[in-house]
Amino acid sequence: MVASRHILAALIFLIMVMSCSDDAQTQPVVSGQLSTAYADGESGASQYSINDGRGTFLWRGDLFADYLFSDNIAFLSNIRIEQDLTLRIDLFALRFSDIASSGLDLQVGQIDIPFGSLGERRFPKQNPFYRLPLTQEHLTTLCSSDYKVWVLAPSFAQRGDGVRVLDQGLYDLGVRMDGQLGMVDYALSLINGMMSATATYTPDGLNNNRGFGAIGRVGITPAPWMSAGVSYGAGSFMADQSADSASFLFESNPQSYPQKIIGSDISVSMGHFSFNGQAFYNIWVYQRDLKSFGYSAEFQYAVTPRMSIAARAGGLVFGEVEGLLVPSRTGERSFSGKWDSDVFRLESSIRYNLTRQALIKIVYEWNHTINVGEEPRDNLVVAQVVLSF
């Protein structure tokens, strides 16, 4: 079990670093979030349907184990486990803050990719909803196992075998630099993979990708109540192996098939109200450019000290392609049209804090797939309890 080896190595490393010092200010800080949920969705043929529409319990744990070596050197980690018992290390990085009093921070290791402003809202306590924004969740018709576009066999996308435009939590191995100049902040990272498909690794753990993905964000905070940013990323979104097996591609070098993505984000918060918005335009360079536009807008309002309500709208709009060669039952066929069905999701939630450490939320998710013959029934209701420690 590769994942278990990774976790074991991570734990040994943690124990080693945490035994380095007994200075009061350099103690380890362990915290986390545990959540359990009951999800009851509809049973339509859709990637958004959970457990084929049968009600089910789910759970997830996020462990944050951090260590402060000195005033400006820290180790940061997130370890996640879900009901499938697969352990994942999202964040595993050394951070050097304010290097030589320059105001620059440097992170190396498994880092948080600086695209957009998802931030803490990826964790159950801070996320008013059950899932991440649709833009981070949707699996396209570009199949991840062979990197072919299965537009004529939509069950691939319906059942979730496709590549995401933004890959959920957005973590990858690499290096990241952060800084600030007055009201402007910036972050630049170089990673093994790319935002659509973070790096894949050979059995001996080496990087499958040629070249690196470069992602950066420039933000501005003109007032405490508002911040906005522009992000850009470019790099290969498929591994060597995938490109070689994708015989119908014009070239086999994956660097010829980069992802180029530009995004913008805005956060506004005043009093009991907050808003987060994000949009991006993405191009996967392929036989024909696979273009997509994604957006997400999220509102939250604290009705009482313990109760808040939230709503989110998000969608993906896909570009049209002319003469794309796609796999079919009889081999390959030429295809013209949208390379995936546009999707739109509306979510609403109500949250109640039982204590500072425990909250309960009820989320309703309405999913709409556009321009399909028969729209799948895939709406969802989730009740979730979150404990933080």
């Binding site: 940061l76 803490e120 405490p224 109540w225 907050s274 009482t304 000290p305 313990r306």
Partner: protein, 229 residues
């Protein structure tokens, strides 16, 4: 018309009367005096610094630098048993400041009915809230220079947090009377004008009561009590 001699006589009589009234009043109350001694290492400030350093999503902070708490900001000595006396809350609002990504003081004793100011002295937003049963409130996010207020109308312990900075923490001790004192930096304290009687006196340090002792206050006398950890 009062002549000069008459005026002096009048002033002496009135002055004497006032002095005797004051003496009589002070003779009817006593005071509690003493010293607190804390030898144990306090790691509250280190915890806050660690929380600030390990924060992943807060960005850079250009506001006031955090400074360790003074003893008077984290220690309170107060009567924790009932006191029979007609009392009114203070006319001036005490403050629980947000400065250097910390609440200052760490513990604020107030009399029930007191309105507390919550100024934001940092350059970033704070969102002060409490889920404690004596006073649930959520002040929302507000910027530097803004002062929000909360009136504490039920006695008890109110734990205060910032929704944005999870490591920020303070306590408002809402008491039914004004008989509390903040020790000076040497640990000396005085609770004046205490009605005579037997009381429990508690020493709050940091985030909890460290010890409680019995004292007997007699009219015109000083009751001494010493606390140590």
């Amino acid at each position: 018309m009062l002549n000069r001699a008459g005026f002096i006589t009048y002033a002496v009589v009135i002055g004497g009367l006032l002095l005797s009234l004051e003496h009589e009043a002070s003779a009817q109350v006593g005071s509690i005096q003493g010293k607190v001694v804390v030898l144990a290492q306090d790691d509250i400030f280190d915890e806050i610094l660690r929380g600030q350093s390990l924060n992943r999503y807060g960005g850079h902070h250009d506001g006031p630098e955090p400074e360790p708490y003074l003893l008077s900001e984290k220690a309170v000595v107060y009567i924790s048993s009932p006191v029979q006396a007609p009392l009114a809350p203070p006319a001036k609002n005490p403050s629980l400041n947000q400065k250097g990504l910390m609440f200052r003081p760490l513990v604020l004793p107030v009399m029930v009915g007191t309105t507390v100011n919550f100024p934001n002295s940092d350059l970033v937003y704070h969102n002060v809230f409490s889920y404690s049963s004596p006073k649930e409130f959520d002040l929302g996010k507000y910027p530097n220079g803004t002062v929000k207020t909360v009136t504490f109308d039920t006695p008890g312990i109110v734990n205060i947090f910032c929704e944005i900075h999870a490591y920020m923490y303070a306590t408002v001790l809402v008491l039914e009377h004004p008989f509390f004192a903040l020790p000076d930096d040497e640990g000396n304290f005085t609770i004046p004008n205490v009605p005579p009687g037997s009381y429990q006196v508690s020493f709050w340090y940091g985030r909890k009561v460290l010890s409680t002792k019995s004292v007997n206050v007699r009219p015109g006398a000083i009751a001494n009590v010493k606390f140590s950890d």
